[in-house]
Amino acid sequence: MYFVDTVKLIWDVLMRLPTNESIKRKIYKMEEPCENIFDQKNIYRMLYCLHIAEDFIYDREKERTK
């Protein structure tokens, strides 16, 4: 494992970036199996996807009209 600081730094970078459109599209369309989209093998990727899903739940109308 990396030192906690390094992990936090990388996660911070990720959080500062605009949402990755490719991943967002996958979640919104849900054309693939859930296990593939929310990959449990990579806990950080899953967490990232859950963030996108959360945004979608709270602001569904806006996202649909995009």
Binding site: I10, L14, R16, N20, E21
Partner: protein, 871 residues
């Protein structure tokens, strides 16, 4: 006519005592020239009555009795001292006689007055100690006044002035010799006052103003300087003052009398001996007063007197010297400097007291400045023997002297101030040579450099012209003879080697132990003082405009080796790096360079970019600060960057010098604080671009992002956490700066105070004229305003240009605090037209990363990787 029969009482028998020699209507005797005054009948009667009473008084034996009482003297059986009438009583009795004096017959006056005079004289001679204790000086003076009033009517005035002025002096001396301090002070004050009156007397006599001399009460009539000085010597005045009953207050008042003596005659050698022996064994306050007195009279001494005093000063063992002695040495040296000819004539014409006799220091014709300086041997130009105590001060400031470092410093300061004096023109040149000889031999170099610096800075004229007193000429002369820079750097190396040796034997030594810098490792001065003196003097030499003394590459390297490569303390490195860096002078708005500009690039390449000279791994913030300043200097000289106000800069050419070195430092430096500075400079080099580089911006930013992600990838592949950290750090700083986030996170107090004041700022998008409002606090930065505008208009921060009052607000102003800008709008923005082939939004570094699936996958890979054993 007066008819005795008219009187109610028959009193006198005749006119044996009064009224015999004049008509009573005249109301007393007159001189030959006097015209009889008019008297009324009543006055005449009154006068007749007085004459009658005087005669009766005389016939009854009154005058005999009066005289018996007035001249009374007896021996006190207890003390065996002679006793006479009190002054007060005698004053009253004198008043009585004075009042009727004009009525008295001549034969009576001839009998009375000499006896009165004798009694007065006796009265002053027999003042006992007991008398003195109770005697009021004012009463005694009043008595003298009354006596003068009476006696002057009988005797010649000159005879009485002599009698009374001597009596006054005797009285003052009596006071001075008594055991009561209060009276002694009155005595010395009285003598001082008399000396002042004599000075006025001398002045009037000299100017021929006899009328004032006869009538003024501010001058003596009889006593003159010669008589007074004789009186002082005869009465052993100074022996008394400086004897066993010496007192500081009396010494203070005595100084003027001694100066009086020196002014009108010479100070005898015995008095110099006396003064000197009086200093022995005295406590500080008295010693200071005596030293002050000696210094005061120094300028008035004869050659013999000065030689005598000089010999005594030289006889003092160095081990026993203290600060008071140093005051004496300095004062004596200063006041016995040979004077110049014009000064002599001025003194002589201003004082006739000097015209009869010329003391050594005023009359000595100084020819030491007569010849021009040049190639001549300075020791042949001037004779040190003419300057008392100056060689002594020189010896005292040396490391080899037996005084402590404080006294050596006092001697140095004293010598510096003496050499600044005009009569020392030749001497200071000699001492410059002597001091440099010392530096050459590495003896007492620190103090010698201080002395040289003080002389050069304060005693020579800063001018581009060459003449004997110009700094340019003397520097040229010294440089030709000694090779100043080589000499100084050799001394720095020598001191460094000796200090190193001394530190090796110290068990407390380590480079971080700054306390050791404040100890004297070599010689009398601390390491810190030596360090500062060396660099301060070096800077003085190389920064002087009118004489070019430039540090060559080789000399710089030698300095670098001493202070950086082989530094004895970390603090040395910090201070030296700060010293050698170009410094912005806020007052002049100019940058001062230690190194010549044409040497800067060589220095940057051979020293700052050389791993053997500047350790990149352990690079300190000061080290990078130096690197940064030279990076900017050399690139500006090459036209690669442009520096503006507040030392902000813009990149003009992307192939700037030192780019590779900068990246090398970024990858190797372990110091966190330094790393932050390195990252800041790298980001600045990518963001602060000139408009001419507009087309290359996006490519440049993509390259930077790519480089950062490359470090992450390499770190991931090679399990190198340090590399990953560096990549993230740079990327985040790039994002921050791109978005206008300021490094100014800390609020200054005054900014905190006004933080609650917020403004609604109107912003207009041109040319569409779309208006929006953003809110900003006074203590926020322009960068924050830019960010808020970008949010309000949904534009990336680099997609628009911001204008205030139609002036472009550059990105380099983003760190400025809003209230310092002082403009509350409206602001306007203009969209920047995207460069052909690139999408405006994609130019944001965040988008570059976010839109690249490889980068996103890499970030997730980094987060989830199992990197056991990885650091």
């Amino acid at each position: 006519m007066y008819d005795r029969k008219d009187l109610p009482l028959k009193v006198s028998k005749g006119r044996e005592y009064a009224g015999k020699e004049y008509e009573t209507v005249y109301f007393g005797r007159m001189s030959e020239d006097d015209v009889p005054p008019y008297r009324s009948d009543d006055e005449t009667k009154h006068s007749n009555f007085i004459v009658e009473l005087i005669n009766v008084f005389g016939e009854l034996g009154g005058f005999d009795e009066w005289l018996r009482v007035f001249t009374y003297k007896a021996i006190d059986p207890k003390t065996n001292e002679q006793t006479v009438l009190p002054f007060k009583l005698m004053t009253i009795m004198l008043s009585n006689i004075t009042a009727i004096y004009h009525h008295l017959n001549q034969d009576l006056v001839a009998k009375l007055v000499p006896s009165i005079k004798e009694a007065i004289s006796l009265r002053f001679k027999v003042i006992s100690n007991r008398d003195i204790k109770d005697l009021d000086k004012e009463i005694a003076m009043k008595f003298l006044q009354k006596a003068q009033e009476l006696l002057c009517q009988y005797y010649k005035a000159q005879e009485i002035y002599e009698f009374l002025e001597v009596a006054e002096l005797e009285l003052a001396f009596k006071f001075l010799t008594c055991q009561y301090l209060e009276k002694r002070l009155k005595g010395i004050n009285e003598i001082k006052e008399i000396s002042e009156k004599i000075e006025f007397h001398e002045h009037l006599a000299r100017t021929g103003n006899t009328q004032v001399l006869l009538t003024s009460t501010k001058c003596t009539k009889y006593l003159n300087a010669k008589l007074f000085i004789k009186w002082l010597v005869d009465n052993k005045f100074f022996e008394l003052i400086l004897g066993d009953s010496i007192h500081i207050e009396i010494i203070k008042r005595c100084s003027d009398i001694l100066k009086f003596m020196a002014k009108y005659e010479t100070i005898p050698l015995q008095i110099i001996d006396l003064l000197w022996s009086a200093c022995e064994g005295k406590h500080e306050a008295i010693l200071r007063a005596l030293v002050g007195m000696i210094v005061d009279i120094s300028s008035s001494l004869t050659k013999e007197g000065a030689n005598r005093l000089h010999a005594k000063i030289l006889s003092l063992p160095q081990e026993e010297l203290n600060e008071i002695h140093l005051d004496l040495i300095k004062g004596f040296a200063m006041y016995t400097l040979p004077q110049e000819e014009e000064t002599i004539s001025f003194h002589s014409s201003g004082s006739t007291a000097d015209s009869g006799k010329s003391n050594y220091f005023r009359s000595k014709v100084n020819n030491v400045n007569s010849s021009l300086e040049g190639d001549k041997d300075p020791s042949k130009e001037v004779d040190e023997k003419n300057f008392f105590c100056v060689p002594l001060l020189w010896n005292l400031m040396q490391d080899s002297s037996h005084v402590n470092s404080h006294l050596a410093e006092v001697a140095l300061v004293a010598l510096s101030s003496i050499l600044k004096e005009r009569p020392c023109q030749k001497l200071r040149r000699l001492y410059l040579h002597k001091a440099l000889e010392n530096v050459k031999k590495h003896e007492s170099a620190s103090q010698c450099l201080t002395l040289i610096y003080a002389i050069l800075k304060d005693s020579y004229y800063d001018t581009q012209f060459e003449y004997e007193n110009s700094l340019k000429s003397i520097l040229k002369e010294l440089d030709t003879k000694f090779g100043l820079l080589e000499l100084l750097i050799a001394e720095i190396e020598s001191y460094h080697a000796r200090a190193k040796k001394a530190l090796e034997s110290s068990k407390d030594y380590n480079k971080a132990n700054t306390a050791l810098r404040d100890t004297a490792l070599v010689g009398k001065y601390t390491y810190h003082v030596n360090f500062s003196n060396h660099l301060e003097f070096l800077e003085f030499l190389i920064s002087y405009e009118n004489y070019s003394l430039d540090l060559s590459e080789k000399l710089v390297e030698r300095l670098w080796d001493v202070f950086i490569v082989d530094a004895l303390f970390n603090e040395d490195q910090k201070l030296f790096l700060k010293w050698i860096s170009p410094r912005y002078n806020a007052r002049t708005g100019e940058t001062n360079f230690i190194l010549p500009k044409n040497e800067a690039q060589t220095f940057f390449i051979n020293i700052l970019s050389n791993k053997n000279k500047l350790d990149p791994e352990n690079l300190s913030p000061e080290g990078f600060s130096c690197f940064n300043s030279y990076f900017k200097v050399i690139n500006e000289l090459e036209g690669n960057i442009r520096t503006g106000k507040n030392a902000a800069f813009k990149v003009l050419n992307l192939n700037y010098l030192g780019k590779q070195q900068l990246w090398d430092l970024f990858l190797t430096c372990k110091n966190r604080e330094t790393l932050e500075q390195i990252v800041r400079l790298i980001v600045e080099c990518h963001l602060k671009l000139d408009d001419s580089l507009e087309a290359q911006k996006n490519v440049l930013w993509e390259e930077l992002v790519s480089k950062c992600m490359g470090y992450l990838k390499e770190g991931y592949n090679n399990k190198n956490e340090l590399l990953i950290n560096r990549g993230v750090l740079l990327l985040m700083k790039f994002f921050d700066k791109f978005e206008g986030k300021s490094d100014n996170t800390e609020k200054k107090p005054e900014e905190g105070r006004i933080s609650s004041y917020s403004f609604n700022i109107a912003v207009v998008l041109r040319p569409a004229n779309i208006s929006k409002t953003v809110q900003i606090s006074l203590n926020q930065t322009i960068g924050t305003l830019r960010r808020k505008i970008s949010e309000a208009f949904e534009l990336n921060i680099n997609e628009f240009k911001l204008f205030g009052k139609s002036n472009l607000i550059d990105r380099e102003d983003d760190d400025k605090i809003f209230h310092h800008v002082g403009f509350t709008g409206p602001y306007s923005i203009q969209k920047i037209q995207p460069v052909t082939g690139s999408e405006g939004g994609a130019a944001h570094p965040k988008n570059i990363v976010a839109s690249n699936p490889e980068y996103i996958d890499l970030l997730f890979a980094l987060l989830s990787s199992d990197n056991s054993g990885m650091r």
